[in-house]
Amino acid sequence: MQREVASAGGAPASDADPVPRRRFSGRVLLPAAALAVMLAAIFVLQPRAMSYNGMRLLLGFSLPLMFAAMAQMCVIAASDIDLGLGTYIGLVNSLSALLLADRPLLGVLSLVGCVLAYAGMGAFIEARRLPSIVVTLGASFVWLGLALLVLPTPGGASPAWLSALVRLKPPLVPLSIVVAVLLALVGHWLFMRSSYGVVLRGIGSTPQAVRRAGWSLLTARTVLYGLAGVFGLIAGLVLTGLNTTGDANFGAPYTLLSISAVIVGGGEFFGGIVAPVGAVIGAFIMLLTGSLLSFMDVSTDWQLSVQGAILILVLGTRAFRRRRA
């Protein structure tokens, strides 16, 4: 599973590279080191960030992003891409803010429907052999439209239990770090340790082999998209809890941010090569760019630039290492 697969772009020069890799070499270590450097820089610039409350404020909005990154990673594991994840998170945000507090049963049913729709989208893509990029693109319009239908203007309220949940203050370590560690462990077990995880990554690298080994590609892709639907659902719920309100457009930035987080965290677009631990780290890296800039007294207008530069740096380094390997 840990082999490099030919990169895209149609360049013969970058064809298959048969060098095997050790389990964690570079793929997770590089982003982990990058995160450490960013945190060190933040602590030097703003020592007060190095406290329980400091970290809590600093990492507050990492919760939705890490779940979004995990959702996107499920899709990327199938060598697909989800361009509709952000608007899906917006839909969950709108539905949960409108329904969960007042009509819990209807709320839960609608959210279950969202996850089933996601799983169905995976089955549809596999059954008709459609390009995921266009299907998820079309779906992004559907999610946004549905969100605007249920919540034409921002509003609604977060149920009390949800707001309380995302504001939990566990002893010693802030909630976002506890959740990040748990999520990374769950993701790692699911994709890298469990035997079905090999099948899930396999449909992204060698679908023919997976099929000949007797596994259903349809089931695997449905499971992956279903998982993406579940993680996206959690991201949307957490967003509702943090913002205590709903907005159809809240989720939009998460599409590109989640893709960036997965790639920065060591995932690849092709070949079912993903790194769940890295995806969570990538989410933190993307989030902290904003804080780092404001501590450096640079306008957050430039946050997107820094995120772009990080993407270029990480991928440029990776391509350079691959060429030398």
């Binding site: 990169s7 772009g9 390009p131 693109l137 439209g145 997107l304 772009g308």
Partner: protein, 312 residues
């Protein structure tokens, strides 16, 4: 019509769709304003066409190739060109040059990232787009973004009811279609899209061709940004937000193969008209924004599912 001809000309479907939707719209208002609707649609659809042609060339060059920087290029080009024009005709030439400069610069940046640093096109154009977007946001603070009067007139001008920009880009589309079908550059793009290895062995100069494709896409996006900013009376930060999805949607709906190697310029035009006329029809019928998005999304998925079920 014979089946083989239809398969070779997939753009016919979206053209039929566009005509049907237009007919329904006109019928629903008892035949009034049919020509006006069409004329407006031609004007708006032109912007989809401009970026769609660039995206089509990129997508045709094979799997993995896509330009996600289009909306950012449009924004940056719109703001910078309006900024140097200061709403004066004297600044018109400079403004146009700045817009083209943005397009060339963005194209070169994309090419350097993709070919030089070996970054997958999706992430390379995404990252370049991030950088341009934040440049625009930083620049937009306190800058005036109004077009030169001449450019404004040009973007709104009509000849016999047909928008001039639509005529201009009908001609451009014709040229691109000819280049794709007849020139060695066009054949190279399609050859790479069909099988990069075979194209390489056949002597196609891949680096040069790929660079040209991304350059053309960025320059077209910058022209679209310039014209759209003028057309809407000034640049705004959200003027291009629909264009990422739309640029891909018009390419795919038009019948260009998402896996590359097969392109149809006529499809970009008919799909742009189709999508814009649907929006118009739903507006006329009083359908809200939410349902409009849902229907647009379902149409994109539905058309793709139907067209892919026919043997390639």
């Amino acid at each position: 019509m014979n089946r083989r001809w239809l398969d070779a000309n997939p753009w016919v479907w979206s053209l039929i769709g566009a005509v049907l939707v237009w007919g329904l719209t006109v019928a629903s208002v008892e035949g009034r304003g049919g020509m006006e609707t069409l004329s407006t649609a031609l004007g708006f659809a032109t912007f989809y066409v401009i970026v769609g042609i660039g995206q089509m060339l990129v997508i045709s060059a094979g799997p993995g190739n896509i330009d996600l920087s289009i909306p950012s290029v449009m924004m940056l080009s719109g703001y910078l060109s309006m900024g140097v024009m200061h709403a004066q005709d004297a600044g018109l030439v400079l403004g146009v040059l700045v817009a083209l400069g943005v397009g060339l610069g963005a194209g070169i940046a994309n090419v350097v990232l993709i070919r030089g640093l070996n970054i997958p096109p999706m992430i390379a154009t995404l990252a370049a787009g991030f950088v341009m977007q934040s440049m625009t946001i930083a620049y937009s603070r306190g800058s005036t973004a109004k077009p030169a009067p001449l450019l404004l007139q040009f973007s709104l001008a009509r000849v016999l009811g047909v928008p001039v920009i639509a005529l201009l880009f009908l001609a451009v589309a014709g040229v691109v279609a000819f280049v794709l079908a007849r020139s060695s550059f066009g054949r190279s793009v399609l050859a790479i899209g069909q099988n990069a290895r075979a194209a390489y062995l056949a002597g196609v100069r891949i680096p040069r061709t790929m660079a040209a494709v991304y350059l053309v896409s960025s320059v077209l996006a910058s022209v679209a940004g310039l014209l759209l900013a003028a057309y809407s009376g000034g640049a705004s930060l959200n003027m291009a937000e629909d264009f990422l999805l739309m640029s891909i949607a018009v390419v795919v709906l038009g019948g260009t193969a998402i896996s590359g190697g097969q392109a149809t310029v006529a499809g970009v035009w008919s799909a742009s008209l189709f999508l814009y006329l649907i929006v118009t029809m739903l507006n006329v019928l009083g359908v809200g924004a939410g349902l409009r998005y849902v229907i647009t999304g379902l149409i994109i998925i539905g058309v793709l599912a139907v067209s892919k079920s026919r043997p390639a």
